[in-house]
């Protein structure tokens, strides 16, 4: 790659980092995508919409307004095959790869987007240290024939845009680090390891009643209805180690 010229990529990255509004950032990202044959941009956080109000989740796109509204439903978010695939994928992938594994409802979500002429594209998953943050999808009426280098160029520009926008528009409510106190997290961590309240009390050198109250407090904070729900919620919220 000795004669490779990455000037356009660097220029796009610097332009995006200099933007101060979401509209400007999306417009610049869209312009970069267009030069590769993509006409549409969709950028969104991947969080469980059953846990977080939709209004608190970052979604930005240059999609038609009607489609934006339709896509922004709990059902569409939960069953979107591209989003589900992004959670597991370490690399960018074409929408077609994700569609192959779509559920029946997932295919309906795909068809909904197809109806607006956005039929093919590529997803760039955004991973953070402990979990996935979100993804950037570039789409259009066809999938351009891209080299590995071009995919990498798009990936680094999407990455820059995504985290620039999260920083610009955040902090988002669910990004809070610690909802549980250290003691609550400790008790839930032991509960996750299958320990009873009596065992946790002995390990931590506190009274069994204190463990019970601490776990009840944790349940209230995470809106959990029982011990299993508490453990799964704590893991999902990054409050304890899986």
């Amino acid at each position: 790659m000795s004669n490779y010229d990455g000037e356009a990529v660097l220029e796009a990255i610097r332009d995006i980092q200099a933007t101060t509004t979401d509209a400007d950032a999306i417009e610049r990202l869209a312009r970069f995508g267009e030069s590769y044959g993509f006409s549409r941009v969709y950028l969104g956080q991947l969080v469980n919409p059953l846990k977080v109000p939709l209004k608190d989740i970052l979604y930005l796109s240059n999609w038609p307004e009607e489609l934006k509204a339709r896509r922004r439903s709990r059902l569409a978010i939960l069953h979107d095959p591209i989003a589900l695939c992004a959670i597991r994928s370490r690399r960018p992938f074409s929408w077609a790869e994700a569609h192959a594994h779509a559920s029946r409802i997932g295919r309906m979500v795909v068809d909904m987007v197809h109806d607006y002429g956005i039929t093919d594209g590529m997803m760039f998953p955004m991973h953070a240290l402990a979990s996935i943050s979100g993804g950037v999808s570039l789409g259009g009426d066809r999938m351009p024939d891209l080299s590995r280098t071009q995919v990498a160029e798009l990936e680094i520009v999407c990455q820059t845009a995504y985290y620039h926008l999260e920083e610009l528009m955040g902090p988002f409510p669910y990004q809070k680090l610690a909802e549980l106190s250290p003691r609550e997290a400790e008790c839930v961590q032991f509960a996750a390891a299958g320990k009873s309240n009596w065992e946790i009390a002995h390990i931590l050198g506190i009274r069994e009643d204190s463990v019970k109250k601490t776990l009840q407090r944790a349940c209230r904070k995470l809106d959990a209805v029982n011990r299993a729900h508490l453990v799964s919620s704590a893991i999902a919220h990054g409050q304890i180690f899986p």
């Binding site: 790659m1 490779y4 990455g6 990529v9 660097l10 990255i13 610097r14 980092q17 994928s89 370490r90 690399r91 955004m126 991973h127 953070a128 240290l129 402990a130 943050s133 280098t149 990498a152 160029e153 990936e155 680094i156 990455q159 820059t160 995504y162 985290y163 620039h164 920083e167 680090l177 610690a178 250290p182 997290a185 400790e186 961590q189 990054g238 409050q239 304890i240 180690f241």
Partner: protein
């Protein structure tokens, strides 16, 4: 707290450095599965652990190494110049007295009580890096970052990629990057982390006393 071990005070911290190399091996080789040629079993010390290397360590209250990172001057052979020069296809890797390379940013997560402590430990490590750079006139840090770490680098420091993401097959990508270190970087880190002021004060306090 964090400890900064430089060529000048290295003699005082031989045991800590030893523990750091052992910790790095546990994480980097045993946990992450890296193959590092030329190192001995149980001890991650390679050709970039030199007599000029500066280490930033985060220690637990009882003195265990929780996290570590190393800094090397770019005016001498460093990882980017020796191993990853071809990764830098967007712009040449920077070299100069005011540019150092950061590598082996490692935290021992098994020692953490909870994810918050894990987060705070990384904060301390990042603050240690920034503070040392500011104190020594280092204006840029270069590093090869893991795809999952790049966002943190981008948020905390003003960062630009030096090259495109590189990956083997479907695996995670690596991104060479350069970050600007200035007062704003420190302010940003301090704003981000509620307890950052106390950490920096802890490091700066003896210096203030010394200069008073």
């Amino acid at each position: 707290m964090f400890k900064i071990i430089t060529p000048d005070n290295r003699g005082e911290y031989r045991e800590l450095i030893h523990a750091m190399h052992e910790m790095r091996y546990r994480i980097v080789v045993e946990e992450w599965g890296w193959h590092i040629p030329g190192i001995r079993d149980g001890y991650d010390k390679d050709q970039f652990d030199t007599d000029k290397t500066v280490y930033v360590l985060v220690l637990s209250r009882d003195g265990h190494v929780l996290a570590s990172s190393r800094l090397n001057p770019t005016v001498r052979p460093h990882m980017m110049s020796e191993l990853f020069a071809d990764y830098c296809d967007l712009q040449p890797y920077p070299v100069g007295e005011d540019v150092w390379e950061c590598s082996r940013f490692v935290t021992d997560r098994k020692r953490m009580q909870d994810p918050v402590e894990d987060f705070r430990t990384r904060c301390r490590l990042g603050l240690g890096l920034t503070v040392w750079c500011l104190d020594h006139g280092v204006s840029r840090l270069s590093w090869l970052t893991h795809q999952k770490f790049y966002n943190l680098v981008q948020r905390v420091w003003s960062t630009e990629p030096l090259g495109l993401p590189r990956r083997d097959g479907d695996d995670w990508a690596w991104i060479p990057a350069v970050s600007k270190i200035d007062k704003a970087t420190l302010d940003r880190q301090m704003d981000r982390y509620r307890d950052a002021e106390a950490i920096v004060a802890e490091y700066l306090a003896p210096k203030l006393r010394a200069s008073a």
